[in-house]
């Protein structure tokens, strides 16, 4: 048994920035077995509208406390309702779902998160940090629209002892521009792996950069999902070799080179 459907208690709700919320659940079963890059599906509301669960990357776990966090942006009705969930409420979580990142050597890892793509990166960073020997830690590049959105999250990475290279659209923090600019500037060696999550155009740019520099690249992609467990075949992701993979069960993390990027 590695996947669970559980009613779990919301134990903390934090507004991180405007329209960005972090929820902490007491979900020991899921938290204990979860891997970075995996996700949960959360049932919203009590009625049949909205009908489907909403998928969220696992942002962080504290196995000792049995807690699990998600970090999300309010973009529609489901996330709006979730943002207003009250501490103490019981929500139904399904997870952990999907295949996560394949972790290589911490010293040869570069994590790139953009926008809400930062969510799974914290969990990934903390696993790397746990595995790292002699203080060799991965590089971390985070991008967002502005410092307001980015600053609170950078703190979490720094708390792990990781240095963060920042990029913002408005230049209010770090590099004024894209995370890809930063990635280009730091010149990773060919034995590095880039682990990335963010909007599709960002992932495409990173993929092309890595391709050119012959660097391995894993990306976590999004897709509309109904079941989250490989049953509905709704979450098709076009493959370079033709046909489709399923984001929920074959992914959401893929080797960037396996996917079809020019749609």
């Amino acid at each position: 048994m590695s996947q669970f459907q559980k009613k779990v208690e919301l134990v903390r709700s934090e507004v991180i920035a405007r329209d960005v919320v972090r929820l902490t659940f007491n979900a020991p079963e899921i938290a204990t077995v979860a891997l970075p890059g995996q996700f949960v599906m959360i049932q919203i509301g009590s009625g049949q509208d909205p009908l489907l669960r909403r998928p969220f990357s696992i942002h962080q776990t504290a196995s000792s406390e049995g807690t699990l966090q998600i970090l999300f942006k309010v973009v529609g009705r489901g996330t709006e309702l979730l943002a207003h969930a009250k501490v103490g409420e019981q929500l139904s979580l399904l997870g952990p779902l999907g295949k996560g990142f394949v972790l290589g050597e911490p010293g040869k890892a570069c994590l790139v998160g953009g926008g809400m793509g930062i969510a799974p990166m914290l969990f990934l960073a903390s696993r790397f940090q746990q595995q790292s020997k002699k203080g060799v830690v991965p590089k971390v590049i985070l991008g967002a629209r502005n410092s307001e959105e980015l600053l609170p999250l950078i703190g979490d990475f720094e708390a792990l002892g990781l240095e963060v290279l920042a990029a913002t659209d408005d230049g209010s923090l770090g590099h004024h521009g894209l995370v890809t600019d930063v990635l280009k500037s730091i010149n990773l060696g060919p034995d590095f792996t880039v682990y990335s999550c963010g909007p599709r155009p960002m992932l495409a740019a990173i993929h092309h950069l890595c391709l050119k520099e012959n660097i391995r690249c894993q990306v976590s992609v999004e897709s509309l999902m109904a079941c989250g467990m490989g049953a509905c075949l709704g979450c098709a992701v076009p493959l370079k070799a033709g046909g489709y993979a399923h984001a929920c069960s074959d992914g959401p993390v893929f080797e960037a080179g396996e996917l079809l990027w020019s749609l």
């Binding site: 048994m1 590695s2 996947q3 669970f4 459907q5 049932q43 049949q48 509208d49 909205p50 009908l51 489907l52 669960r53 139904s92 399904l94 897709s223 509309l224 999902m225 109904a226 079941c227 989250g228 467990m229 490989g230 049953a231 509905c232 075949l233 709704g234 979450c235 098709a236 992701v237 076009p238 033709g242 046909g243 489709y244 069960s249």
Partner: protein, 313 residues
């Protein structure tokens, strides 16, 4: 069915679909339960009445480009495009697990021509563990200009006959709701030898993104399922129950045991849980439990007492 003695405290949930005996009336709907294995962490699969697997075609199909699904009010649209591994890989890769489960496995099949349906049925004949075939006639008939088999009683009957001739196991024909009169098609497939009918498949629907001015599905149109369609499904089951003598499997928006039993009152001998599996992967087992609890509480001799027991007038 001649009920054999039940264990004390056990409720009698058994129903029959043609020559197929089910331990209870709860199946999973095709396309909503994968190949069952996906649900093994959530459902005690052996407790289900039957498992209906994703629709299988002769050759593997890649399916439609994304987006393939979209949520609607109390429902969802899907345009999966019948992605599946094809009958041969289904038999070699999926059936071993399924047949080991010990519950009846019903294989949902689909084709673009009568010939294709027939060939799939031939391949499945004699395959260990295949308890019945459910014929999805909602697919377009490519040889006849793309009109769905399920909307023309003659074509529906032709498919039924072709499958039935190549099949030892019961044949369930799955009806499309996108017709003026579902009873006409139901009668046609009964006459053509169907052992049962199941209904409803999805209603054809569409969703539009105002911002992009594009359809929300790459395929433009898709199939509507979920609680939203339950009233239409219930009506069609009731209508069909008035005109056929073969068993009916009720489908459409079933989420709870109450829903399932309403379909039985309307005339269904069994039911399928579909979209609800996505929201609650344990839904099918919960429906079994709920029906058992009701039969016990109401002290019914058997769940079969519910079939067609609607009081009208």
């Amino acid at each position: 069915m001649e009920p054999v003695k039940m264990k004390k405290d056990e409720v009698d949930l058994r129903v029959t679909i043609g020559s197929l005996e089910l331990q209870n009336p709860v199946m999973t709907a095709s396309g909503t339960f994968g190949y069952a294995r996906e649900f093994e962490d959530f459902v005690d699969l052996r407790r289900l009445g039957a498992v209906v697997v994703k629709g299988i075609s002769l050759a593997p199909r890649a399916g439609n480009p994304p987006p393939r699904i979209v949520e609607t009010a109390c429902g969802m649209l899907n345009a999966i495009g019948l992605e599946n591994v094809g009958v041969d890989r289904f038999i070699s890769d999926k059936m071993p697990y399924l047949s080991a489960l010990g519950v009846p496995v019903i294989v949902n099949i689909l084709g673009d021509s009568v010939d294709e349906y027939q060939q799939i049925a031939e391949r499945l004949a004699g395959v260990q563990g295949v308890a019945a075939i459910e014929v999805n006639i909602s697919c377009p008939n490519v040889k006849m200009g793309g009109v769905a088999f399920g909307t023309d009683p003659k074509m529906a009957a032709a498919v039924t006959t072709a499958v039935k001739q190549n099949c030892q196991v019961p044949v369930i024909v799955k009806l499309s709701p996108n017709v003026t009169d579902v009873t006409v098609v139901a009668k046609a497939v009964q006459e053509a030898g169907a052992d049962a009918v199941s209904l409803i498949n999805t209603l054809i629907g569409m969703a539009i993104n105002l911002g992009s001015r594009r359809p929300r599905l790459a395929n433009i149109i898709g199939g509507l399922s979920g609680p939203a369609i339950k009233p239409v499904a219930l009506r069609m089951v009731y209508q069909v129950a008035q005109v056929v003598t073969i068993p009916i499997v009720g489908i459409g928006g079933i989420t709870t045991a109450e829903d399932a039993m309403e379909f039985m009152l309307a005339g269904a001998s069994a039911v399928q849980v579909g979209t609800a599996n996505f929201v609650n992967p344990k839904a099918s087992e919960d429906v079994v439990d709920g029906i058992a609890a009701y039969v016990r509480e109401q002290q019914l001799d058997s769940v079969r007492d519910l079939i067609g027991a609607l009081r009208v007038g």
